[in-house]
Symmetry: C2
Subunit: 180 residues, 2 copies
């Protein structure tokens, strides 16, 4: 493993994905992914060539309504891009109740934090309808950084920008509560 | 500008730094920076060679006690690494009061969010004692990504990991307040 990615945790077995329907490599769905990317904040300015290269590192899965695609507390390391369908995000509160946080659709990305930092999942994501999504595992991300450093930097810059925006928004909300 | 960094906002003039004492290029302080990096979460696993290369892209400044090194609301684009001294972080609340958030010392990094996303500063950072710090501007970060892609990926991975950890922690705090 090259020194530049040595601090990324080694990949883990993404067991949950085995319970879902594997539809094949991302490259078999490159057209659908490219069309959907216009709706995606994350991939908005990716070119067709970027998408062609990126999808070669992705796998496509389908979950039926009610199936989990990410489970809170699990240690796994993929992020995903919703191609079709709808996903609800649910977080367990300190009383053990499941609190719905939000729901997202095509173009949304989920699971970026664990893909990079390897910490347990923060929330559960459940397919509301039959949902198709493409998966980028940490292992594939490491391969992209090593084999396609330009594309790797582009994805990493996007991740930093996205997390930074979420952190600003969450910190502002927290301050609002602290002031009351 | 290479396509991989085209979505990074163009660099801005970092006016605030002009009010501080410029001590020279980072490479003139590589030994101090390397020794301090053992205390830095951000740079902990950077090798001597990484530090040698990175400091070539940094500038070192000193602020006197009471001087601001980052000003809330400003649009500028540097992150910094504290080499010596102590810095207080202060946030303005909705009543216009300045609320001290925390204080940090050697090895801490500040200002990472605006360095990447180009949004206005979230809080003010004030030198408590005479403080020496090295600065990495967005312009230098872009140069690193283009000229030293391995080092660039390593810094970006660190940024993603750091922001992800802060977002987990801030989100947990926010949930705690929402539950009350």
């Amino acid at each position: 493993m090259d020194a530049m990615v040595e601090e990324i945790k080694p990949p883990v077995k993404n067991t949950l994905l085995e319970s879902l329907t594997h539809l094949g490599e991302g490259s078999t769905m490159v057209q659908q992914i490219f069309e959907m990317i216009g709706h995606s904040k994350f991939f908005a300015d990716f070119t067709r060539e970027d998408v062609d290269r990126l999808t070669g590192f992705m796998q496509v899965y389908r979950a039926n309504a009610g199936q989990e695609i990410i489970h809170e507390g699990d240690v796994d390391d993929y992020m995903l891009l919703i191609i079709e369908g709808r996903v609800e995000i649910v977080k367990t509160d300190s009383q053990g109740n499941h609190r719905p946080m939000t729901a997202v659709g095509p173009g949304a990305t989920l699971g970026e934090m664990s893909m990079i930092d390897g910490e347990p999942r923060f929330a559960t994501c459940i397919a509301v309808d039959s949902t198709t999504f493409s998966v980028l595992s940490r292992d594939s991300m490491v391969k992209i950084i090593l084999e396609e450093p330009g594309l790797g930097s582009k994805i990493l810059i996007k991740l930093v920008t996205l997390l930074s925006q979420r952190l600003r928004s969450t910190s502002s909300n927290l301050l609002h509560y602290l002031e009351r």
